[in-house]
């Protein structure tokens, strides 16, 4: 009897809460409404993330369309015999959820960049290119070229089917873990900036009339 009573009382209280005058919103409305709003917000958040994770979003900014996107079109990651096309988020946004949010936070910085026009002309982009590229190199170095390995894996590489130069380099430096993809494969998706001072790319100071 006591239990039934308790349940009845609870139900009654809940009903009362639900029916409380609209002047101050009922706690029930708040709970249910909050829950529904939460679901919608989470879904919207996901959709928004999904949308900002598409190449179309990236190249909606002319900075991205005129420079990195135009570069990409000249490379093997745009068209190749395998017919696989790498898009910006394939290389630039980690698929991991938390990393993803972290990247978005950094992306908001880009929106600021747009507002303040850090790279809104080809000249300004060119001037800033080295610095931006360095961020990417550092990221790929730190995560052991994670994005590259989402498509290419050292394990699935059949070096007997690679060119002699590739096989030798991969065997000596990649499989032994001495270097990672980005150490050797800079500029596989974009034209490189001035490389003075970057290991192995160091330019002779007086070359080309410097």
């Amino acid at each position: 009897m006591g239990l039934l009573n308790r349940v009845f009382c609870l139900a009654k209280a809940a009903w009362a809460a639900f029916n409380r005058p609209a002047a101050h919103l009922g706690i029930g409305v708040l709970t249910v409404g909050g829950f529904v709003a939460g679901v919608i917000w989470w879904g919207g958040f996901n959709t928004a993330l999904e949308a900002t994770n598409k190449e179309a979003f990236c190249i909606s900014c002319h900075e991205m369309r005129d420079n990195p996107y135009a570069d990409l079109k000249q490379t093997i990651h745009w068209s190749n015999r395998s017919g696989v096309r790498a898009t910006c988020p394939d290389c630039h946004v980690p698929h991991n959820w938390t990393d993803k949010i972290a990247r978005k936070m950094q992306a908001s910085k880009e929106v600021w960049g747009k507002v303040f026009g850090t790279v809104d002309t080809p000249e300004k982009f060119e001037a800033k290119k080295r610095e931006l590229a360095e961020h990417e190199w550092a990221r790929l170095k730190a995560n052991n070229s994670l994005e590259c390995r989402n498509c290419h894996s050292a394990e699935s590489m059949d070096i007997t089917r690679q060119s002699a130069r590739a096989a030798a380099a991969h065997q000596e430096f990649l499989f032994t873990g001495r270097q990672t993809c980005i150490d050797c494969h800079k500029g596989i998706a974009h034209r490189l900036p001035d490389m003075t001072g970057v290991p192995i790319w160091t330019m002779p100071a007086h070359a080309a009339g410097h």
């Binding site: 093997i76 002699a164 130069r165 430096f173 500029g187 490189l192 070359a207």
Partner: protein
């Protein structure tokens, strides 16, 4: 008097069908035009008059416009670069060696020189690439510099990949050794 009136939906259907059939009607109009195209010139089989035309005939390859005024017949497939990583002998000592590996998309401009990431002296240990020879360090007065000379910076000016294309015209080049051997057979020469 009773006239037969088609029901409206039927009329619409017929009209649509007629519209859809229009492109089909156009086909026979287009076809004869192709038939009328001039038959390929048969003149190529007769003895070619000019030296160029004779070379073309000897090469056994189709002729193209410009070669003795003959007609275009067939475009050969795009030749592939030879990228077997085997160094080719030079035809004479001063020849810039040809490139035996892929150089597709290798950036080579004022900012970046991809070739030097392997061929510069200091990186040849890791890359196992042949070092640019000492002539690449010399300026035009023969002065040897510390790094690649500006006039040797743009490698692809002199070094080129080879393709598997067959020569249009037979090549009668003989290198110096075969010329000497030809002039002094069986070691009678001074070599």
């Amino acid at each position: 008097m009773m006239t037969f009136r088609m029901p409206r939906p039927l009329r619409t259907c017929l009209l649509l069908a007629a519209l859809a059939a229009l492109p089909v009607l156009a086909v026979p109009l287009a076809a004869p035009a192709e038939d009328k195209a001039p038959a390929p010139a048969t003149a190529t089989t007769t003895t070619p008059a000019t030296a160029t035309a004779r070379d073309v005939a000897a090469s056994g390859r189709p002729a193209f416009t410009g070669a003795g005024g003959q007609t275009v017949m067939e475009a050969p497939a795009m030749p592939k670069d030879v990228t077997d990583d085997r160094r080719r002998p030079r035809n004479y000592p001063e020849q810039p060696p040809v490139i035996p590996h892929s150089v597709v998309n290798y950036q080579l401009d004022l900012k970046v020189n991809k070739c030097l990431t392997c061929h510069a002296r200091e990186f040849t240990g890791d890359s196992q690439a042949p070092m640019i020879s000492v002539t690449h360090f010399q300026d035009r007065d023969g002065q040897v510099l510390g790094a690649v000379s500006a006039r040797r910076y743009f490698c692809l000016q002199c070094h080129v990949p080879q393709t598997d294309a067959q020569p249009r015209v037979p090549n009668q080049f003989q290198d110096v050794d075969s010329v000497i051997r030809g002039a002094h057979p069986e070691g009678k020469g001074d070599k």
